[in-house]
Symmetry: C2
Subunit: 343 residues, 2 copies
């Protein structure tokens, strides 16, 4: 049906292998035949069949992207659109293609990955998250399949190429910023505990407190995994302590919006009697009321660097393991005020 390399060969009076070489722009073909063949390809409307090419060359020019539970509401987190944007830009430049996992549960995702790898559908994989005890990581390592991870590996960091922020510093910087404003009662509201990013930001938070001789109070530390409804309860408890925090460090923008809503309902005014600083600096940090002071982690670059380094690895298997740290910075907006207020 579709015109193949053979049709072109026949029409151009050359062998299929010659046509193949013209496609690859091999230097071993005379300019003359190249021209001739190209003309015919044009005339016949020839377009190479990628599947056939993949089979023959044992490479798909496709990267697999692994999402954490796409069925989950957390998929709505703009973090993913933004990394994907970075990744898109990266692959587009390099003429690679993207394939996604679609699993909802941990097992489905694992299967998606196995299918990608064993089915030889992709040349390499990018993991968009890093968590404790991830079967996917174990599998990939055991298969020695090329992948890069966005985030900090749970273990064996020196053996896994990854692109990450220095989230410990980021957590520390955010906390120090609040301390600098005079706050001493600072609450921490984190996402899923099993995610490395949450753990690191929490570690940074603690570090900053310790450095400033402020005792760490466990009751100031909350994990708001249930974004909307569930989260509210936790915040309420936090703000109903006899000594409630005067400032909050929230590890994720989407959560920060939820927190904002809850504390408003509780009668707080941000930033007048409660300061909030969040992470990621997604588009709507700027659009929130009040606009959120946020730690920009350059999500786009996270994605961009991930592809770059994965492709580097694919093109040169000897490429060393790397750790790429994307810088972060505080974007000051209107959600933080000087402490310490009494109320």
């Amino acid at each position: 049906m579709a015109v193949t390399i053979k049709d072109v060969a026949k029409a151009a009076n050359v062998a299929p292998s010659t046509v193949s070489r013209v496609i690859a722009d091999s230097p071993r073909i005379s300019e003359n035949t190249k021209r001739k063949v190209r003309t015919i390809m044009e005339e016949l409307g020839y377009h190479p069949n990628f599947i056939a090419r993949s089979l023959a060359s044992q490479s798909t020019q496709t990267l697999g992207i692994v999402f954490p539970n796409s069925g989950n509401i957390s998929f709505q987190n703009p973090f993913f659109s933004e990394v994907l944007r970075g990744i898109s830009e990266g692959v587009n430049d390099k003429h690679y293609t993207l394939q996604l996992t679609s699993g909802k549960t941990e097992d489905e995702i694992y299967n998606d990955v196995v299918n990608m790898v064993q089915g030889r559908r992709v040349d390499g994989i990018i993991l968009l998250y890093s968590k404790k005890d991830d079967k996917v990581v174990d599998y990939l390592r055991q298969k020695k399949f090329p992948f890069v991870l966005i985030g900090k590996p749970y273990e064996d960091q020196e053996q896994i190429t990854h692109v990450d922020n220095d989230n410990i510093s980021a957590g520390r910087d955010g906390t120090k910023y609040l301390l600098g404003l005079g706050h001493e009662r600072i609450g921490f509201i984190g996402g899923n505990k099993n995610l490395m990013v949450t753990a690191d930001r929490l570690a940074g938070y603690k570090k900053a407190l310790i450095e400033n001789q402020i005792p760490i109070k466990e009751e100031y530390i909350t994990h708001d995994e249930f974004l909307l409804e569930g989260g509210q309860q936790a915040i309420k408890e936090l703000m109903h302590l006899s000594q409630p925090p005067t400032a909050l460090l929230v590890t994720d923008e989407l959560m920060a919006l939820g927190v904002l809503k809850t504390v408003h309902a509780l009668g707080y005014n941000v930033p007048d009697n409660l300061s909030i600083i969040s992470f990621n600096n997604a588009l709507f940090a700027e659009l929130a009321t009040p606009p959120l002071t946020s730690i920009d982690i350059n999500i786009f670059d996270l994605g961009m660097e991930a592809v770059k380094n994965l492709i580097l690895k694919l093109e040169n298997p000897k490429e060393p393991i790397k750790r790429i740290i994307i810088p972060h910075s505080i974007i000051v907006r209107k959600s933080c005020e000087r402490g310490s207020h009494n109320y």
Copy 2:
């Protein structure tokens, strides 16, 4: 290197074709050999090579997803995460796989599509947008390649299977809601004019006004394509009219957040002296301050139905052209108040 169908065949003492049939669970193979072969597959850790299978069977079990300019900030619009979530769920159930376009410009996207189609990388395509004069649509139709469109086709609607909301009604309903609250000076803030969705919602807005004998004022109609900075200027002009609107219909949630921010800066209080209703009911409609009254268009279902119907078409080429309308509904929150206020 990897274990192939031949290895399994040899080890099981059968022909490769038999193994192939076992994989396909063909009824023409005895339970006995099936069992035997399956055991061997297990032992050898056999996994079919999808690329080879695709080449032989001329089908990839992969769907191509076409985004509008992923390089653009509008990609950050939660609409896309949410359709993607619906699509993911759909393909996962049916064991299809997803491949994305990564182009930034119209031409790059067009090329992405051509590569998917001519390169035989995908069996069908889902377009996540619908706009005026889209080369991609023309190409797909001319190639008679299976695709479904999310939104309303610019032309020949009876000839293109599409999944859409009744956006004219939706626009009308939103406007009627505001009229019902007593507003008569209602502004329309739409996105890109070339998008069918914008056009339809605008049409609905006009319809509602006409039905209520309210004259349409062109100066009340704005198109805020530049989301953040650019948009502000348009809103300012709108609100600085001698008779500014008392209510706003904003065709997109992300834009609504921007509008909210701008009118706040202008000294308005939503909803006390300005009402806002928006569309899409994305996660943060609920999280905005104030929570936005929004027209829920069931984005998830839009994606889900799109896959369903595309796969139907792939499995049965005679499947008729269809138009699927996903219902919408108004979710009342806190961004609208009774009109008409004077100020």
